[in-house]
Amino acid sequence: MRIAVITFPGSNCDQDCHRSVEAAGATAVPVWHREISLGGTDAVIVPGGFAHGDYLRPGAIARFSPIMTPVVEFARAGRLVVGICNGFQILCEAGLLPGALLRNRSLRFQSHDCALRVERSDTPFTSRYREGQVIRMPLAHADGNYYADRGALEELESEGRVLFRYSDAEGESTEEANPNGSLNRIAGIVNEGGNVLGLMPHPDRAIDLALGSQDGLPLFESLVDSVHQRTPAQMAAAEGRALAGTAR
């Protein structure tokens, strides 16, 4: 199985994602942002970093890179796409995920471990976790403060599309555990079709106990499992929901 890892000028977690994919048993395929095809890969990761220096707004310039045309098509076809940190910001700017990531409430870049509660385990990205499981991984961003208007937020919640929420070590999702001011303490969400994931913390930096945590590895393993198991019917269903979502 081959998973594309996109590199924009300014991406700096592409190698970390590459290693994470390989640790989960798949082959990582580096794809430069000026490519116009995903080369028949089975899933896509948009890694973290500072694509185009994050100038203007994080993700604002990157979403116009040539590779984003096939990525958007791929996502609309119900195939699996993951955006981590800057990747999440890019997917929001590209309209594949709702909302936006604003400046952290602290106004500072924040780099530290955080605890997350896994809200659902019945998704292509979280099947290797338990629902309610508390996981730890680093976060490192200046703009991770998730915002969506009230309607979009209600939709996310009622449709169970929040997959990861900031919490304390016991799994209580309290405001004290909210590192950046995100609405509803949202750390990661999926699109209408459930096939596009965006999250701010870095599972790609938590794949090995020597680094302090391997809680990120199941995310990549879930992805690999899902690509193996995904049936055409599931993809079509996701595609239908993704298109319905865009129409709104």
Binding site: A60, G99, L102
Partner: protein, 85 residues
């Protein structure tokens, strides 16, 4: 063809929390500027644009705002032609 100076102001949409504005407000107050009642912070982008007319320059820049310069989810913008360069 002339060259126009165009000013784009991009501001956080009303109702959106503006932590930077809040921080500046707080700092102003602690420096004694307590007559300041509200602060909001946006971006100012200055462009020099070649066009036949000020109206064309403005129209093109407005289009670029919708596509790139502002994020419709969180930001409003205004475009003003400030004269010829």
């Amino acid at each position: 063809m002339s060259r126009f100076r165009v000013e784009v102001l991009v501001t956080p949409r009303p109702g959106l929390l503006d932590p930077e504005g809040g921080a500046i407000h707080h700092a102003l107050a602690s420096l004694g500027y307590d007559e300041v009642a509200e602060v909001r912070v946006g971006k100012a982008i200055y462009l020099e644009v070649a066009a036949d007319s000020a109206a064309t320059a403005a129209a093109r820049v407005e289009e670029s705002c919708r596509r790139l310069l502002a994020n419709p989810v969180t930001e409003d913008f205004t475009v003003t032609v400030r004269g010829e360069a």
